[in-house]
């Protein structure tokens, strides 16, 4: 066990853990951040998406040891921000949510995309969401949700 210090949703924290423990488990089990979902545990579905120093990562593939000194953002930290609100509302208004299990990860992927490209084309949105699986929607309405957020969220990204 070692002590690992990092910034979580803009607050400094430190956890006691084996370095190999998955960031996903630390977030969900030790810290109770259950917006981060486990859909596969093998880096294939994106349900566990978080931002690590601003980049979209699958937290099931990130050993906590590599997080020391980094900044981690989860949906809990973003859902009440302008960005989070904008995407959540746009998703709700576009029919982007069905069973909802993929949705937190999709919201995180959308934030990551819009931060670097506030006016993505459909093809760019598809690439931005390509690491996140959804079995319910067929993706069209999620893509429309991102488009709507891009339209509404002028200047917030």
């Amino acid at each position: 066990m070692t002590e690992i210090a990092f910034v979580l949703n803009n607050k400094k924290i430190s956890v006691e853990a084996e370095g190999a423990t998955r960031l996903l488990d630390i977030l969900r089990e030790d810290l109770g951040l259950t917006a981060v979902k486990e859909g596969c545990g093998e880096g294939e579905c994106g349900a566990c998406s978080v931002l690590k120093d601003g980049l979209l990562v699958n937290s099931c593939m990130v050993p906590i040891g590599t997080v020391a000194g980094c900044s981690i953002e989860t949906l809990e930290g973003l859902r009440n921000s302008d960005e989070g609100r904008c995407i959540i509302d746009a998703f709700a208004d576009s029919g982007a949510v069905q069973c909802g299990f993929c949705t937190p990860g999709m919201v995180m992927a959308s934030i990551a995309l819009l931060r670097v490209n506030a006016h993505p084309t459909i093809d760019e949105i598809k690439v931005g969401l390509s690491g996140n699986l959804c079995r319910c929607t067929g993706y069209d309405m999620i893509i429309k949700g991102v488009q709507l957020a891009s339209e509404r969220g002028e200047g917030i990204w």
Binding site: T34, E42, A47, R135, C136, T137, G138, D140
Partner: protein, 712 residues
């Protein structure tokens, strides 16, 4: 002005789900939570000689059949009760439950699992339909390994064949498909106030209650099932949760602490039920003009080692074997075959996608042999109102396929494209037609389900809808209240419809068969009307309604004759593809659909179902290869079992046709499965057109296309 019922509203669950606030089963907190993991027999057919478990540390348990309470049965009460909770003596499929390890630390449980050793006496195995029929591994079920063996006769096949000048024969196959609900299987069980409580990610809370009651040897009243918000199901959480709930309940009985069983993805892919593989062998007689004078079809599905719902899946498959066509003389022989494969089970469409794929490809093949465009040929046989169905019932619906086809053609400029692309040119368009009988087969609602529903008006004017159908993504927690709000003329915010708890809600039946919105939604509409009339009667008003069977719908379950379904949803799907001449990779260039779902209760929700269903079906038809070898599913990670991503298919055109059904709420019909029924055959048809050769199975992968292209 009152809003149209079809006008879209924001789903009531969208905000909390998108914000990650909604709790799924694995997000819930329990004090002193223990973890359970199924220990499985890793043989497909064997006798268990011994099971050796290491000495367990304190607080760890290995629950086996010896822990079933006195008087309890080692069998799960489903449609049949052949599936045991724990292997009796003989293992019948790879992955059958032997026991459950329970304890406070998951890693420790995995270590203990490795230390359990099971000694087997190996027995002969049968995996394919033919091996099952040949009794290669002996009698798994009955005398002939057929759980179900049915014949349908319409018209006079003998006479028809006598008139035939040619007989066209072929075999077509469909493969396994895995549901890949994004939330894996999961349940939590505990014991509280003398009751066994199971919280479940499931489709049918009352099924679980019934399934485990004989195992615990306790009255169903002592069992409470609470529905957890469910992260997708698609049929995969219709019966399978019973298989986990039963050993879990035994463990709860012994340990009396909360126990969570949540599958990891690999476990879920390896050890849960899939869509039935199917085979259709057609013999079709044609007259001199190429008209069909007789059709004889042999349909078999691989049901696996236990019966589960396979016979009902088979029934739907054979009822779908003429797709949307009125063929005068037909004989169908259908069998659901017992093998040592993992038991197959419900999956969106429930046999119809198989039957429809076989039928659509066969019709296209006849047309191509005759040098006629498949669409033109198929149109000759479109079912019309008043025609005789394959079960000798009457088609009560106004069938609007021509209108739907026109819409699809216009949206996709199909005419122009067909004129431009020649068969074999590498570009192609495939068009499928399909129908889905909405609701349970025949008189199932009346005889078996007998749905009940309650609505309550509280003193503050808020209304509660109490029913057992679950929200699993399809939007029921929005559409049920929306129906009530429209009738009661109150804001939807005043109406709640929470996740069911079997101790609080009446049994309005399972969330299956595209029945919920149509059948239970009708009950919501009726109860709302009654509530409206009685609104001022008292502070609190309670309304209870029961299912009423539609008149003029006659069915004989013993002979499978009559009106198999009260109404049908209808669909047309066109797919445009381009096949790379070198790699045989297929790029889908366009998707155009039209559906008749009666009346949409919410257009956005319906379009969401269409989009999701069609893409899932395109996965089935093109990407989702699931091989079964030596008793094991070969693809057991999401890196190997490929489902569609946002990159695989273009955005689609989805149009709706209004065609109200009088016994559905505001004219709505079932649609959740319909939208799955046509994607695979449209895709395969498009590839055929593009490569100028026939395909005989799905998924149509590049490897298979190469094989087909190299065929003479």
């Amino acid at each position: 002005m009152k809003k149209r019922i079809s006008d879209s509203i924001r789903r009531v669950d969208a905000f909390d789900k998108a914000g990650g606030i909604t709790k799924y089963i694995s997000d819930m907190d329990f004090e002193d939570l223990q973890y359970g993991r199924l220990v499985r027999a890793l043989r497909s057919h064997a006798r268990i000689k011994s099971i050796k478990s290491p000495k367990l540390p304190d607080g760890y348990y290995f629950i086996t059949k010896d822990d079933i309470p006195t008087g309890g049965k080692n069998e799960i009460q489903q449609i049949s009760n052949d599936w045991p909770v724990f292997v009796k003596d003989e293992v019948l499929f790879y992955g059958e439950t032997v026991g459950m390890l329970v304890g406070p630390d998951r890693q420790k449980i995995l270590d203990l699992e490795d230390a359990i050793s099971i000694e087997y006496e190996e027995l002969e195995e049968a995996f394919s339909i033919d091996e099952g029929l040949a009794l290669k591994s002996g009698k798994i079920y009955g005398e002939d390994n057929c759980y179900g063996d049915y014949h349908l006769n319409k018209g006079d096949v003998k006479k028809g064949f006598a008139e035939a000048v040619t007989v066209f024969e072929e075999e077509i196959n469909t493969g396994y498909q895995e549901h890949v609900y994004m939330e894996p299987q999961g349940l939590v069980g505990y014991y509280e106030n003398g009751k066994y409580v199971i919280i479940a990610s499931s489709q049918c809370p009352f099924y679980i209650k019934k399934a485990i009651s004989p195992v615990l040897n306790t009255d169903q009243d002592n069992i409470v099932i609470k529905q957890a918000t469910t992260g997708g199901a698609f049929g995969g959480k219709e019966h399978f949760p019973d298989i986990i709930a039963a050993p879990l309940a035994v463990a709860v009985d012994v340990i009396r602490k909360p126990i969570q069983v949540v599958f990891d993805r690999k476990e879920d892919l390896s050890f849960t039920a899939k869509r039935h593989p199917s085979r259709g062998i057609f013999r079709t007689g044609l007259d001199a003009k190429g008209n069909i004078v007789a059709m004889d079809v042999d349909v078999t599905i691989n049901a696996g080692a236990y019966m589960s719902c396979s016979n009902i899946v088979l029934q739907r498959a054979i009822f779908s074997i003429n797709s949307v066509y009125d063929i005068a003389n037909v004989h169908v022989h259908g069998r659901s075959v017992a093998t040592n494969a993992f038991p197959s089970d419900a999956f969106r469409g429930f046999g119809a996608p198989q039957g429809l794929f076989l039928a659509e490809m066969h019709m296209s093949h006849i047309a191509r042999n005759l040098g006629i465009s498949p669409v033109e040929y198929k149109r000759r046989y479109f079912m019309k109102k008043g025609d005789t169905t394959i079960t000798n019932g009457i088609m009560h619906d106004e069938v609007k396929l021509e209108e739907m086809l026109e819409k699809v053609y216009a949206a996709g400029s199909i005419e122009e494209k067909l004129a431009e692309y020649t068969p074999g040119s590498g570009r192609g368009i495939g068009i499928s037609f399909y129908q889905h009988g909405a609701g349970f087969t025949g008189n199932g609602e009346q005889e078996i389900i007998k749905a009940k529903l309650k609505m309550l008006k509280h003193g503050d004017g808020n209304v509660e809808i109490l029913l057992s159908n679950v929200e699993m993504g399809q939007g029921l927690q929005t559409t049920f209240p929306k129906i009530a709000a429209q009738v009661l003329e109150i804001p939807i915010e005043m109406i709640s419809c929470d996740n069911p708890d079997t101790s609080k809600v009446p049994n309005s039946g399972p969330t299956v068969a595209s029945r919920s919105l149509m059948v239970v939604g009708k009950l919501v509409e009726r109860a709302s009307r009654e509530l409206k009339e009685r609104w001022d009667e008292d502070e609190e008003v309670e309304v209870l309604v029961n299912y009423i069977h539609p008149e003029g719908c006659e069915w004989d379950q013993a002979t499978l004759q009559g009106d198999a379904y009260p109404t049908y949803g209808w669909g047309v799907c066109a797919i445009e593809v381009e096949v790379d001449p070198a790699t045989a990779e297929v790029e889908t260039k366009g998707i155009w659909t039209a559906h008749d779902v009666g009346v949409a209760i919410d257009e956005m929700i319906v379009h969401g179902q269409v989009n999701g269903g069609v893409i899932q079906a395109l996965g089935y038809g093109s990407l989702e290869k699931l091989d079964y070898k030596d008793g094991k599913f070969q693809q057991n990670t999401l890196a190997d079992y490929i489902i569609p991503t946002s990159m695989d298919f273009p955005m689609m055109s989805s149009q709706l046709i209004e065609n109200p059904y009088e016994n559905g709420p505001f004219g709505a019909k079932g649609l959740g499965e319909l939208v799955f029924d046509g994607g695979a055959s449209a895709f395969a048809d498009a590839v055929e057109y593009a490569i100028g050769k026939k395909v005989y199975k799905i998924p149509v992968t590049p490897e298979y296309i190469m094989e087909v292209k190299n065929r003479d």
